[in-house]
């Protein structure tokens, strides 16, 4: 690797202060630090040794945690495709179809997002922050496989500019960036995001034979006012086991609760994702589901749905594990994380059951709680301040 180091060392002066390409220093720096951890040493004063962790590693850990979801998603896009078109196919054929659909989306998301990040880094003269490593992977995973390429490009650019850079960049955003991308598409191009049963499955232009394969999701069945008993209507296809394993139609990376749980374990063991948010999120959804089971349900089949089904349907698990735990947009106090996670879970089920327009609640629940997270933190911080004041008053008394 000395060869590579030599090239970098030779080019470095051009990008430094006074060099010809000084403006583009962030680009050079991003490339250089990707190849080599920098040779910076601790400053004269202060901690003389530093922890081996850095932001790149932290972010890559989240990406690694998403890989099970990604791999399963690739297979499942192929699986659903062949189910819908009623063909038999081998494992490899399913993977090939999945890659054909998924890879371009990932490439577009990383390319567009990376360029926007570089543009702002050069413009503002700061280093490229690594937050986009995660966002760039999250965005394709929460999209339906049929999403047009230009839409994912526009959504990515919108989310980074309006969701993040206008607030000051990485670390300053109020809303989860990937969820902002999804919300943007949902409200701007609803047909492509939730337009009935044909968005969730890639059919290569063929019409789905709805007798054999509906293409609908479990959520839309449960939300259907004509459905009296959701679990019965689910049939074998949406059995609890299938919902858990995830061989069902849906957004690319979110269908498999099992894969999400593997990701959750990676996040919790590495300490990168808050276990408090994850646990309280699932707990909130489950308890809310139980509550609706008890309440009189006016023929709303969704209310009567057994609570544990909520945990494996739709994007709840994926959203709680990978999006609610985004440390920047989540509650930042430890006690606040319990409340924040719990409310995301509870709100998701609430929205699912009572919002007739759209049967999935996790997107709006996360965004809503992103907005309320600072308020939760405010009360936790105030409580800390009050304890200090109370100590003083006790003394004076």
């Amino acid at each position: 690797m000395k060869f590579l180091r030599k090239i970098l060392d030779a080019q470095k002066p051009n990008f430094e202060k006074g060099g010809k390409l000084e403006r583009f220093h962030p680009i050079f720096e991003a490339l250089e630090t990707f190849a080599f951890a920098p040779n910076h040493t601790a400053p004269k004063n202060g901690a003389q040794i530093r922890d081996a962790i850095d932001l790149k590693r932290l972010m890559m850990t989240v990406v690694i945690a998403m890989i099970p979801c990604l791999l399963f998603g690739i297979w499942n896009v192929g699986e659903q495709h062949f189910l819908a078109t009623q063909q038999t196919a081998t494992f490899m054929e399913k993977i090939m179809v999945g890659l054909w659909i998924t890879l371009p989306l990932i490439l577009i998301s990383y390319t567009v997002g990376g360029l926007v990040e570089l543009f702002f880094a050069v413009r503002k003269g700061h280093a490229v922050n690594e937050g986009f490593l995660v966002t760039g992977m999250l965005i394709p995973l929460i999209m339906p496989p049929t999403i047009p390429w230009w839409q994912i490009a526009v959504a990515t650019a919108f989310a980074i500019v309006v969701g993040k850079e206008v607030f000051g960049g990485t670390g300053m955003n109020i809303l989860n960036v990937a969820m902002t991308a999804r919300a943007f598409l949902y409200f701007a191009y609803p047909v492509n995001m939730a337009g009935g049963s044909d968005v969730w499955v890639y059919t290569a232009g063929q019409k789905i034979n709805t007798d054999a394969y509906s293409g609908a999701t479990a959520l839309s069945i449960a939300a259907d006012p004509n459905v009296k008993d959701a679990v019965a209507s689910f049939g074998d296809f949406f059995s609890f086991q299938n919902l858990f394993i995830g061989n069902i139609p849906g957004s690319i990376g979110e269908t498999s609760t099992l894969m999400v749980l593997i990701g959750a374990i990676i996040l919790i063991v590495t300490g990168v994702g808050s276990w408090k948010i994850i646990v309280s999120g699932f707990l909130g959804a489950y308890l809310m589901g139980l509550l609706f089971n008890i309440l009189p349900n006016d023929n709303n089949a969704f209310m009567a749905l057994p609570a544990h089904y909520h945990l494996v349907m739709g994007g709840l698990a994926f959203g709680i594990v990978f999006m609610a735990t985004d440390p920047v947009s989540a509650s930042q106090t430890e006690f606040g994380k319990w409340i924040y996670g719990f409310l995301i879970g509870a709100l998701t089920v609430l929205i699912r059951v009572f919002n007739p327009a759209y049967p999935e609640g996790i997107m709006l629940a996360v965004l809503l709680m992103n907005v309320f997270a600072p308020l939760i933190d405010y009360f936790v911080v105030e409580a800390n301040k009050q304890r200090r004041l109370k100590r003083l008053k006790l003394k004076a008394a």
Binding site: A42, G46, D51, A52, D54, T61, Q332, V381, N384
Partner: protein, 450 residues
């Protein structure tokens, strides 16, 4: 009282001091550096180059606080006075006599010390320079003689990486430690508190006139600020004083023997030191003498103090006033191919993100270098600083209040209760690689000036 702390992190470094003591390294010159003290405003040097001084002769004071004398650590000739910007005196260098001569202060027995008035004690401490052993919180500054602390705190163990073992250093000094307590107890209407390590057969346990508290838990349980927080926290408007056992011994010695004795046992440690051990020397000693034929490598970082709160010095550097150790570690000025993702059990991390395997062998002694392992970034991670700060304080919110210069929030979030050393572990584990100790000091300076 017994206090169990669970938060924190012990950093196990290679190069721990053997329990051997060398008495023979006598340096030629010793330095006094006004910049070792916080908040000196109008410095005045009272000696000239060529003057002869004794150990305990005033050489410097702050016109803002003129009763506090800064005195020579050794007797000899003032050979150099280096000044920096605005003629601020950076260093006063004294060429030591072969045999140290001392300024005479009154000699007391334990009985006569008991009957000494607080004013008299204060006067002797101020004149002799031993006053500088006190640090006043909030802010960690030299206390004004007219201030009365609500209590005085001493931590009887240093939990920093490779720090000197006080049980070894102060063995046989119990008499002076005891006299020190007798003297300082007169300066506060409150108590003298000593924090010792739980379950250790500490020699400090037998001291009288002080309240003993046992602490257990990882670093920073030995930080006096953490101990204060759990014993009798500092509220707005209150001041407390702290000192180390080094200061306590010096004060006791001053009253019993009538001499300002700046000798102390220091540790020279670190993975790059061939023979890490203890030395008896004087405050302000240059590091050079300890490193002759004693270094394993050339590319090293020499630190006055410990790896968390110390500062980098060069081969000519000297021991800072409040430091009692030199640490020598490898300098981390290298590029590491794919160093940001390559798995490693060698590099230490408090965290367990992908590839950071040090948590599998937490007790292993590692030779850590000064590499930053990353670059400064925006704050992203939350909830980790809390895990290394065993205080009811929200570190990230306090840091952000400082960055925003929000004085009310700084105060409400507890800035009066902490000093840089208490936040040093936060700086160590910070993913965003920011200089938290420096920021904290800037916040305190802003409050002091406001």
């Amino acid at each position: 009282m017994r206090i169990k702390l669970t938060k924190g992190f012990d950093i196990h470094l290679a190069g721990k001091a053997n329990q051997t003591l060398v008495d023979s390294i006598h340096s030629q010159t010793y330095s006094f550096k006004p910049s070792d003290f916080k908040g000196i405003q109008r410095p005045k040097v009272t000696v000239n180059e060529g003057d002869q001084v004794k150990a305990g002769t005033p050489i410097f004071f702050d016109k803002k606080n003129p009763q506090v004398m800064f005195t020579a650590p050794v007797s000899g000739e003032v050979v150099a006075i280096h000044r920096g910007p605005k003629r601020f005196p950076e260093e006063i260098k004294i060429l030591a006599d072969p045999k140290i001569e001392y300024v005479d202060f009154p000699v007391h027995s334990e009985q006569s010390l008991a009957s000494l008035s607080a004013d008299k004690v204060r006067e002797i401490l101020l004149q002799s320079g031993a006053w500088l052993n006190f640090l006043e919180r909030p802010f960690g500054i030299i206390p004004h003689p007219e201030n009365t602390p609500k209590a005085i705190f001493i931590s009887a163990y240093d939990s920093h990486p490779l720090a000197p073992d006080y049980e070894f250093v102060f063995k046989g000094e119990e008499k002076y430690l005891q006299a020190g307590i007798q003297a300082i107890a007169k300066l506060s209407p409150g108590k003298v508190h000593i924090g010792i390590k739980a379950d250790a057969n500490s020699l400090f346990k037998s001291l009288k006139g002080a309240e003993i508290h046992e602490f257990s838990g990882p670093h920073p349980s030995g930080n006096v600020g953490v101990q204060i927080h759990h014993i009798d926290p500092i509220n707005k408007g209150e001041v407390v004083w702290t000192l180390t056992p080094y200061g306590l011994r010096q004060i006791g010695y001053l009253f019993l023997e009538g001499k300002y004795d700046a000798s102390q046992i220091i540790a020279v440690v670190g993975s790059e030191v061939k023979n890490p051990q203890y030395y008896k020397t004087y405050q302000g000693v240059p590091v050079g003498g300890f490193l002759v034929n004693n270094l394993k490598n050339e590319n090293v970082r020499i630190i006055s103090g410990n790896v968390l709160t110390g500062h980098k010095i060069n081969q000519e550097g000297t021991l800072a006033y409040y430091d009692h150790m030199f640490t020598v570690i490898p300098e981390g000025n290298y590029h590491e191919f794919l160093g940001w993702i390559a798995p490693s059990a060698k590099k230490l991390s408090f965290q367990r993100a992908f590839g950071l395997l040090s948590f599998l062998s937490p007790k292993k002694e590692r030779a850590l270098d000064s590499n930053m392992h990353g670059e400064e970034r925006a704050y992203v991670q939350t909830g980790v600083f809390e895990q290394v700060l065993p205080m009811d304080i929200l570190p990230m919110y306090l840091i952000k209040a400082i960055l925003a210069r929000d004085f009310e929030a700084m105060e409400a979030l507890g800035i009066y209760e902490v000093l840089e050393e208490d936040f040093a572990l936060c700086e160590f584990i910070d993913v965003s690689k920011t200089d938290i100790q420096k920021m904290l000091r800037e916040g305190m300076n802003a409050l002091l000036e406001a």
